[in-house]
């Protein structure tokens, strides 16, 4: 009954929000198709990629919208699946050896479902410790099976890192539903919407600002596409967007802007860190699952870094 009241109370805001997202995507689609029509004589790679990216955004928005409509369980299941795809991409591209089989088995089939089950039953103490402490201790023990010492520390570090980024960090997105904020009961799904919309817009706006007026590369060794102009313009405009979305959050406009700034900066650095790993491995994208974007991790690198910080800031000051 409470769930139902909560659902009904929150739907006007969520409907408004998704209508807004649909409008933005519609405008983007019109612009991209117009660009494609304009360049029809000399088809360009950039425009083709833009069109593919926007199509993928429609799919992603619809999938998140469906999970949103189902509610808490839908979100937890969605992000568990996203974690699985992300971890699969990460482990695929970070070579391990045969003797890591049991550690990987435990990572995929034990740590991942257990983490999301703990989020589901709302056992905060354990989902905060499961991967940083217990998986951290168990996985290297499993990697000793077979007595293979070749690159032992490197291998165990890779598996642990993959779990932290792809499972621990991403699980903090649905964990936002568990926060009991006085006066905000039953509306926590909108916190997820705030986080995802602000951080993803920051990525998109950095891309747009970069394409429009980007000149100086901000970290040429780490990323060939991130520019100073893109960074400043993207973070500033996504922060303004966060402030403008204060009405779906328990924050004042100023607080919303401050939190948006923090998660945008975390997201930016998340992109840089994941980019550094890709450069080191000699690859451009983590995978091929999302047309035009690359893999799941290419799309979520910023959310991975922003989610736990967003979660703990709210938990410390608003709960």
């Amino acid at each position: 009954m409470n769930d139902l009241i909560g659902f009904v109370r929150e739907w006007p805001h969520s409907v408004l929000l998704f209508a807004g997202v649909a409008c933005v995507l519609l405008i983007a689609t019109v612009i991209a198709e117009w660009l494609r029509w304009k360049t029809r004589d000399a088809p360009s790679q950039v425009v083709a990629n833009l069109v593919a990216r926007i199509r993928a955004w429609w799919v992603m928005a619809i999938v998140v919208g469906l999970a949103f409509a189902i509610g808490r369980v839908g979100m937890i299941v969605l992000f568990a699946i996203v974690s699985l795809f992300a971890l699969r991409e990460f482990i695929t591209l970070t070579p391990t050896r045969r003797s890591d089989y049991y550690a990987l088995l435990a990572a995929f089939y034990l740590a991942l479902p257990l983490q999301y089950w703990l989020v589901y039953i709302d056992w905060y103490g354990l989902y905060t410790l499961l991967i940083p402490v217990y998986a951290f201790l168990l996985l290297p023990i499993l990697s000793t099976i077979g007595g293979d010492t070749t690159r032992y520390l490197e291998r165990t570090a890779k598996v642990q890192w993959g779990l932290m980024i792809c499972v621990f960090c991403i699980s903090h997105v649905p964990a936002l539903i568990n926060l009991h904020i006085p006066g905000y009961e039953g509306r926590n799904l909108l916190l997820i919407a705030f986080l995802v919309i602000v951080v993803q817009s920051s990525d998109v706006l950095q891309y747009v600002w970069g394409k429009l007026c980007g000149k100086r590369l901000i970290a040429p060794k780490l990323s060939p596409s991130k520019t100073v102009e893109g960074f400043v313009g993207g973070v500033a405009s996504a922060t303004a967007l966060g402030a403008a979305l204060w009405w779906i959050t328990p924050f004042t406009p100023l607080q919303a802007a401050a939190l948006a700034l923090v998660i945008n900066l975390m997201g930016f650095y998340g992109g840089l860190v994941m980019s550094a790993i890709k450069r080191d491995r000699g690859i451009k994208d983590w995978g091929h699952m999302i047309e035009g974007h690359g893999g799941v991790l290419d799309r979520l690198d910023s959310v991975c870094f922003a989610a736990p910080v967003f979660f703990h800031l709210i938990r410390y000051w608003w709960v």
Partner: protein
């Protein structure tokens, strides 16, 4: 009916688990072809099969070792009814029909083949074992056949030898450019050319194989 369903579920499972991504350097075609690949796991031919366009799948038959696949009723059922395999006897002493003749019959019957010229699963550190001569003899008997190298990447990590539960990791099958036996080509030259064409694909797969990365990933591929 049931065997078709089973075939689709094997192929569906491997696609769900590994993505079974296909990269084509030649164009997919229903011409009679021999797809030859590196052999690291039992999933290999299901992988190649799943990466092929559905319209081509039914006429592509894997070549499998009779000694292994006739060991019990379940394997006999799977290889005959589900995978529609062409069985050849690997041990010459056991042979009733010449292996190359068996393959030629299958080709003449309108099928394409999946073949693993290493002859056995590669469990070592070498990326590719020396080829058995069967590939050459087949090319010699049917010179019009096109040979397509297929490099399967990462599948050995999905299910290492002797393990039961597969790991979900992304795999890529890279289909290289077709090659044919040249008029004046001798056995060793053809086998070397075919083997090098396959090895060349390994460096362009999804997993990088340069420097340190090569050492560690080949360690995984044992």
């Amino acid at each position: 009916m049931i065997s078709n369903l089973l075939a689709s579920s094997f192929s569906g499972a491997i696609r769900a688990l590994t993505g079974a991504r296909a990269l084509w350097r030649c164009s997919p075609s229903s011409d009679h072809r021999v797809y030859y690949g590196n052999h690291v796991s039992h999933g290999d031919f299901v992988m190649i099969w799943s990466a092929l366009p559905p319209a081509l799948r039914r006429q592509v038959r894997p070549v499998a070792g009779a000694d292994y696949w006739q060991r019990d009723a379940l394997r006999r059922y799977l290889i005959r009814e589900v995978f529609n395999g062409v069985l050849i006897e690997r041990d010459p002493a056991q042979r009733k029909q010449d292996a190359i003749e068996t393959l030629c019959d299958a080709v003449d019957g309108g099928n394409s083949l999946i073949l693993f010229p290493e002859g056995t699963r590669n469990q070592g550190d070498e990326p590719l074992l020396p080829f058995k001569s069967g590939l050459y003899h087949l090319a010699h008997c049917r010179p019009e056949l096109e040979f397509v190298p297929v490099w399967i990447d990462n599948l050995a990590r999905v299910m290492p030898k002797g393990k039961v539960l597969p790991l979900p990791l992304l795999c890529t099958a890279t289909f290289g450019e077709t090659l044919r036996l040249r008029a004046d080509e001798d056995k060793q030259a053809f086998l070397d050319r075919a083997r090098n064409a396959l090895l060349a694909l390994s460096e362009h797969g999804s997993a990088p194989a340069a420097g340190n990365a090569a050492n560690i990933s080949h360690g995984a591929a044992e």
